[in-house]
């Protein structure tokens, strides 16, 4: 097997006295779309934030492309090729749609290619093209999520981390967002997808991890997880 793109070993994270992540192992191969599902407060967002250096781990190891990331300052992760679409989208509300996308390409200096990538994102999200001069804060929730994903794509990531892209969106918009996620995966971008909408996430992913109060309790192919009775009861509402 080729070298894993991301390898998490025995990761523990605490906020003061609160142990949010209690020793997890997780691995992602290049080209995979991996889902991380779990209830509220399970530690999913904490895991993603730790991956991009926003939260420092108490213990454990994170290897990206085979190298430890723990010495990197927050702003260097995107240069290494890892970018997070944060929970709640985190768009720059008083920047225009286009400026938000340009911020995604902040670490790049190839002007012509950046312009071409903006057109590519507009190709994925035609609604954004129509609104490219509009302040991002005035967009609908679904459109803001498109900005957040498009902005992350502008850095040409090797690993895209998505934190609950379906949060607060109408079902039809959620379908649209997941369609885009499949298209991005088809382009060969590796992804770690955190979702409350476990069914949709597992239907989209190759593999999945189940997280419960800070621990990984199950890891399997997405197919097997969808067929697992315990998972169906707990997360798929069946």
């Amino acid at each position: 097997m080729s070298q894993a793109l991301l390898q998490i070993k025995n990761l523990k994270v605490a906020y003061g006295g609160i142990h949010a992540v209690k020793g997890i192992d997780l691995e992602i191969q290049p080209g995979e779309l991996v889902a991380l599902i779990g209830a509220n407060g399970a530690g999913k967002s904490t895991t993603l934030k730790t991956l991009v250096g926003m939260v420092k781990p108490a213990e454990g190891e994170i290897l990206f492309k085979g190298a430890a990331t723990n010495k990197l300052p927050v702003y260097d992760y995107v240069r290494e090729g890892m970018v997070l679409v944060p929970e709640g989208r985190g768009i720059f509300s008083r920047l225009t749609v286009e400026e938000n996308l340009q911020m995604g390409a902040y670490v790049r200096n190839d002007k012509a290619e950046i312009a071409a990538d903006i057109e590519r994102v507009f190709g994925l999200f035609p609604r954004l093209k129509e609104r490219h001069k509009q302040l991002a804060g005035t967009l609908s929730g679904g459109e803001q999520q498109m900005v957040a994903i498009g902005r992350a794509m502008m850095s040409r990531p090797k690993l895209l981390l998505l934190d609950e892209p379906s949060m607060g969106l109408a079902p039809i918009i959620v379908q649209k967002i997941f369609e885009i996620i499949r298209m991005i995966a088809a382009e060969g971008v590796t992804m770690l997808l955190v979702e409350q909408n476990a069914k949709l996430a597992l239907q989209t992913a190759n593999r999945g991890y189940v997280m419960e109060s800070g621990k990984i309790t199950l890891a399997d192919s997405a197919e097997n997880l969808l067929a697992n009775e315990a998972i169906q009861k707990a997360y798929l509402g069946e």
Partner: protein
Amino acid sequence: MDIFLQQLINGLTIGSIYALIALGYTMVYGIMQLINFAHGEVVMIGAMVTITFINLLVGMGVHLPGPLLLLAGLMMAIPVSMLVGYAIERVAYRPLRRAPRLAPLITAIGLSIVLQQLASLIWGRSFRPFPAILETNVHDFFGASITSLQIASMLITIALLAGLFFLVERTKLGRAMRATSQNPDVAGLMGVNINTIISTTFMIGSALGAVAGVMVAANYDQAHPYMGALIGLKAFTAAVLGGIGNLAGAVVGGFLLGFIESMGSGYLGTWTDGAFGSNYKDIFAFIVLIAVLVFRPSGLLGERVADRA
């Protein structure tokens, strides 16, 4: 002589100065929600350094036309003030980035006192006259008088404002500054080094402050180590009047305050039948400050905060 026109010219001159200083307050507030009360001292240091350096040049027998000497003084003052601004942030504010709001505020006030004392150790406590290097060219303007220095001050201000707005609205650095002020964590995720952006913001504000300090000293022919307190408070008032955190607001607030102040001092004697004269002009800034805080705390162009999505 037409009092209105004359006071308008005076108001535009002092308004330019307030606007340049107010920008320093508002930029720092925009990026880290902090009121840098030591900013007035950066302005003062700009004025003092210029005077010292020009005197030094003249003392060494350098024979240059007045405007060039002034320019040389300015070129010395700008980097010194930028360095002071940078140091203020590094030493006093960065260690308190995650501390409760009150801590950096108290530090700011303490720092401003420290800088005043340091300056009075270096330059003494008395007024320093501005070196007499400029001929006073007074021009007649529809019955009012305007000096070449006033014209130059206004033109320089306009050029600096245009440059600043271009930087903030049209360049990659400016975009990163705006992104950082709206959502620093996410700006960091996008690869922006927040510390660099904050330092840059302090240095740009300090450079504008240095220019303003030189304008004060040149237009009013003097400077002293405690001048930063009053002019700083007035410029802060201008920033609040325009809506703190809003760049255009700082400019509008600066010119408006300059206008109110000079009109007020021009007509105060007439209005009060001579009971109060123009020596009461400083009172207007504080009336404005209190009125804004009471009636429209978000300022003229300020948004009601509710958009940190």
